[in-house]
């Protein structure tokens, strides 16, 4: 039995499967983003370029690894590893293969919120430790950005928990299975707010201010090269999987068996759809300035999130 446990943790719904999902979703994202812009996107590596993310990862690993002389060495080494490991650990409480996740306890939703906050802290440390002007500005901006989207996000994520009377993601998925309805049908406003806030969390276009390519080179990632950059990119892809898994689990019914289609397949299809939605959204906007973004979040997102909570309290979303 323990071997099966280890297999589950390491291979199937665990690390390896999720990493492959991460690379797959990066391919979906790049391909759709390219098609919206009238381009082909990755083409040559594997059928329709599906192995391009893996090729990039291997290329970056083989590249030279430059460590700036003035940087804070131990932080500079530790942060990339933590940045890749954090979404992995958070993904263990996401139901992937079955409505019941590998590890589920009452309150893992709060753990997810905490891990989002921790990720932004890691980004801040990454930028701060590389001691370069551009990454310093980038890391300060990412910290500012967290202040603005974290509260509406926290407010809205609580709504499905109130409706399902359970603070565990698996619990919410089972609640949706029990009432045979998607969370989104009950709380559409919540889904909209979560999608917008997740755009800010993933630093996708209207909110990719921390790594604004035309202003501060690559923001907090400027000084990282070679293996560290590979880890950061994988971390970003895993974060994409984590975010889409969260949206699917809370609002789109999560990993439920649909008569013949196994739960895992349903999960992959739904998350791919959410990733496609993110990718389509980031093709439509220009980038906000940091002060406009914070003002926008506090003036618009927060009241809407609060309204959603009030609606749920009054029993509309239950």
């Amino acid at each position: 039995m323990v071997a099966y446990e280890i297999f589950q943790l390491v291979v199937f719904p665990g690390a390896l499967f999720v990493i492959c999902l991460a690379f797959l979703y990066e391919w979906v994202d790049r391909k759709l983003f390219a098609r919206v812009q009238g381009r082909y996107g990755p083409l040559y590596t594997g059928p329709a370029g599906i192995l391009q993310p893996v090729a990039d990862f291997l290329k970056l690993i083989s590249k030279e690894d430059i460590v700036p002389r003035v940087c804070d060495a131990n932080l500079f080494f530790a942060v990339p590893v933590m940045y890749a490991a954090l979404p992995l650990t958070a993904l263990f409480i996401m139901p992937i293969a079955a409505p019941e996740a590998l590890i589920s306890f009452e309150g893992d939703l709060i753990f997810i919120l905490f891990s989002f906050g921790l990720m932004t802290l890691l980004i801040f440390l990454a930028g701060w430790s590389s001691m370069s002007r551009f990454s310093a500005i980038g890391s300060v901006r990412s910290a500012l950005q967290m202040l603005s989207y974290e509260i509406p996000l926290g407010l809205v994520l609580v709504c499905p928990a109130i409706a399902a009377r359970s603070l565990s993601v698996s619990g919410i998925v089972q609640w949706q299975a029990a009432i045979a309805m998607w969370g989104a049908a009950l709380q559409p406003i919540g889904l909209a707010v979560v999608m917008v806030c997740m755009l800010a969390e993933l630093e996708l276009v209207p909110f990719d201010i921390p790594e604004a390519e035309t202003e501060i080179v690559a923001g907090w990632r400027t000084e990282f090269t070679g293996r560290r950059l590979a880890l950061f990119r994988m971390g970003r892809d895993l974060e994409m999987v984590l975010v889409s898994a969260l949206v699917v689990s809370l609002y789109l019914g999560g990993a439920q068996q649909l008569w013949l289609i196994p739960a895992a397949a349903m999960f992959v299809v739904k998350t791919a759809a959410v990733v496609a939605a993110f990718s389509f959204a980031r093709a439509l906007f220009a980038r906000f300035r940091i002060d406009q973004m914070i003002a926008g979040m506090w003036k618009y997102m927060l009241p809407i999130a609060a309204a959603q909570v009030v609606l749920v309290q009054m029993g509309l979303g239950a």
């Binding site: 390219a34 919206v36 009238g38 381009r39 389509f280 439509l284």
Partner: protein
């Protein structure tokens, strides 16, 4: 949100980019590619050498052994030589993929047909 319509339409359409090494975009006629000398028509009048702004054409030697040395890496493809040539001996070809690693390979010699030798199977050759 004003670009959603265009974005959706674009999704259905075929991308407009060309997969370059596989598909090549045809070049229109009268395109100013790399010039080529037809030495049978050339009367070695050196008009092209004086007309060339960057000085990429040079006549070497005299009489039957004379050669036109053309430096492709100095050429700016402005077609002044083809325009000034009285015998229409210079033609701008459609070659534009002229990048290379070795500058010495970018020097072309155009030589007149040698009468005494038996005529070679192909017409005059431009080596390099």
């Amino acid at each position: 949100m004003s670009i959603v319509g265009e974005a959706l339409r674009q999704l259905r359409r075929k991308p407009c980019t060309v997969r370059y090494p596989a598909e090549k975009v045809p070049v229109p006629p009268r395109f100013r590619g790399m010039p080529a000398w037809e030495m049978s028509k050339c009367i070695l009048c050196v008009l092209c050498q004086n007309a060339c702004p960057p000085g990429a054409i040079r006549l070497i030697g005299k009489g039957p052994e004379a050669e036109i040395e053309y430096l492709m890496d100095r050429c700016i493809f402005c077609e002044e030589c083809a325009e000034v040539c009285p015998k229409r001996a210079i033609v701008m070809s459609a070659h534009f993929e002229l990048a290379g690693f070795d500058r010495s390979k970018m020097v072309f010699r155009f030589r007149k047909e040698r009468q005494p030798e038996p005529p070679k199977p192909s017409a005059q050759t431009a080596n390099g």
